[in-house]
Amino acid sequence: MTTIVFVLLIFAVSVAAGLLGVLTGLGGGVVLIPALVLLFHVDIHFAMGASLIAVITNSSAAAPTFMAKGLSNLRIGLFLETAAAVGAIVGAILVAFVPTSYIGTLLGVVLLYSAYLSSRQRDDLPSDKPSDPLAVRLQMEGEYPGVDGIREYRVYNVLTGTGLLGVAGLLSGLLGIGSGAVKVLAMDRIMRLPYKISTTTSNFIIGITAAASAGVYFSRGYIDPGLTMPVMLGVLAGSTFGARVLIRARSRVLRIIFVIVIAALGIQMVLKSLFGLF
């Protein structure tokens, strides 16, 4: 295959990954890496490097939409990011020492878990219990526009959430993904923030977490220009278009199909990594 054909094909796949990432709310990276590895037999290190840059691009592209409304909770975001940034650097350094088959298997498992998470219903359950005292001291509580006007929200389990963000950061650095699913899980389920606040705050810190690993990836040569270029531009095009489509189409059937696609990619990734199949 000549480079120009390769670049065009990668661009097309990246558009699809960006689209899928937005429609499932998982972000482009976690879908993109298996696609590059399984379809194009790209070395997983290159795929991770390209994906990491696509993650930063997406997070920056979505920032004006999310941040203009002031929905991201910067106090919570930055507090959690301390753990995520450290985790990301540790993860990025570990890549060189962890066997490729382990990385592939872990990515497959994260993919399957993400598919499971995105197939579940979201519900915000306001609680009467007072917030975590630490959250009160750090002024983390806030308010958000709910269905019936402005509502205040409380914040729980700050330290458990921070620990989980450390894990999210580690996975981000180790796999070249944004770890959005784990970040939202920590804020939405553990800290019990409203879903909207969780996703916007997660988007705010995803770019920072990925930037922490990017330096290590760059100096190790994981970020190849010929591969990263079509991936970055393709995912950007796909997710921008996807965000437009998302406003119109909210079909449940579509969502189930996507979840199945992602689960299938996850299973293939595990099989390929463990047994060298395909």
Partner: protein
Amino acid sequence: MDEQTKQLETKIQAQMGRILLWGMLASSAIVLMGGILFLIQFGSAHANYTSFDSVGSHIKTVGAVIRGIRDYSGGALIEAGILLLVVFQYIRVIMSAVMFARLRSWFFVGVSLFILAVLVYGLFF
């Protein structure tokens, strides 16, 4: 949180969002230009990304990026656009630090500076 604090936070968040968007657009434009140059230079060559050991990106330092741009290397220009994108993420953290300094919330100034230190460590790793 009082009304003034909330307003300032919302205003700075909106500014941050806009700066990030412009940074992303600028870096994408540079990557696109580099990409066109790269395809002119290597478009008809054989593509091989299957093995990391035999290929590996040759451009691994800021110095190599600058030298490459002087030689009109498309690949180096792509890497320059990517580095610009990464550097713009630092602005999120720096702007947060400035915002919390204006609010005299020193704990979060410290949190922001800690994250900045981790990012800088990663860059010079």
